[in-house]
Subunit: 200 residues, 2 copies
DNA sequence: CCTACCGATCGGTAGG
DNA sequence: CCTACCGATCGGTAGG
């Protein structure tokens, strides 16, 4: 029988991305060394290079795992026969939950994308564009008057993402506003603003 | 006569922050070296250390100059007898103009605040808090029903800043939506969402 | 001839 | 306002 991969190969690799995400989130990509990641995992640097070809590869993995999870959440929210506004509420709830549950990866995605080499960065950006397009399409379903004004619907989608993406810098889930109320507030703002944009 | 400062002291210092802001914006604080800044300005590293005690000091200067400019813009918008919603529109226009005009400093403020040493970071954060409070107070003036629901008005203010602060990652002033239209769209969203939040 | 892993150290460059 | 350097640490790789 041919020798196979270690039984715990995947778990070990997952542990490395997880620890790298935490360090990149607090110190930034250039501020956290491969030695730091090794120290945190109580493993050798060489073992990290057994799993990853380069430090940039780890960064890519931190980000792609996060945007793929967001992509899956968006697909969940869009499936089924709910009304478009309800789909947007579902999507927003799921995104906010991922932003909190994967706070490190989310912060790294927002701050350190520039350090991913061009080709792999393009792949991440493409997934992000798909997420934006899903939201933009939902907004047009909610407000059909914007069907022929793509610039306006895209702008509304970007303002929506602006509002939710950076909640991680200030939002406290234990404060006066629950995560659900926050998500609904963003959707309310977006939908109400959309109606005004459709008039003007 | 005692020896005085060089006649061009301030201009030289300004040139250093400007070039540092550009490098920090594209490569991040840890990705841009002091030698890089010196090269760009065609000066020596030592001259930089004549104007600044440390690399962190340059970073602080990049940020404090930007938030002070925003503070002055907010004061301008709040002065005079316009209605609160018009004041919010004026403030948003002025902020967006500064975000575009000082795009490097703005990006650095959003990405690299963690690298400023604690004491000076607290100073920057305090100015930012003042800006947030100005907007929150305006929102309560616009929608008095939120007077006793500070959590909600603060959340609305943070979503407002989320929407405008990160326009720099995607917005193109030469595209289908003018800066004025963009600013008005954010205000429309915020005000319309505010009305819904006041109901619920 | 493979995968899994270590202690030690490489050539270069960082902030000061 | 410069050249010449420093202690330390960087990402990545050697032999075994």
């Amino acid at each position: 029988m041919a020798r196979t991969q270690a039984a715990d190969y995947d778990e070990r690799k997952q542990a490395i991305v997880e620890q790298a995400a935490a360090l990149f989130a607090t110190r930034g990509f250039n501020g956290a060394s491969v030695a730091d990641i090794a120290d945190r995992g109580k493993i050798s640097k060489s073992l990290i290079y057994h799993y990853y070809e380069s430090k940039e590869d780890i960064l890519y993995d931190v980000m792609i795992s996060h945007v793929r999870a967001l992509e899956a959440a968006a697909a969940d929210a869009l499936a089924g026969g709910a009304k478009p506004e309800q789909k947007l509420r579902d999507l927003t709830q799921l995104f906010m939950a991922l932003y909190v549950g994967a706070a490190d990866r989310h912060k790294v995605l927002l701050n350190d994308l520039d350090y991913v080499p061009k080709a792999r960065r393009a792949e991440i950006v493409q997934v992000q564009r798909g997420l934006i397009e899903s939201v933009r399409a939902l907004l047009v379903e909610i407000e059909p008057a914007l069907k022929k004004r793509e610039g306006v619907s895209l702008t509304a989608a970007m303002l929506f993402f602006g509002a939710i993406n950076w909640t991680h810098t200030w939002y406290d889930a234990k404060g006066a506003v629950s995560p659900e109320a926050l998500a609904n507030m963003v959707v309310d703002m977006t939908v109400a603003g959309l109606a005004r944009a459709a008039e003007g």
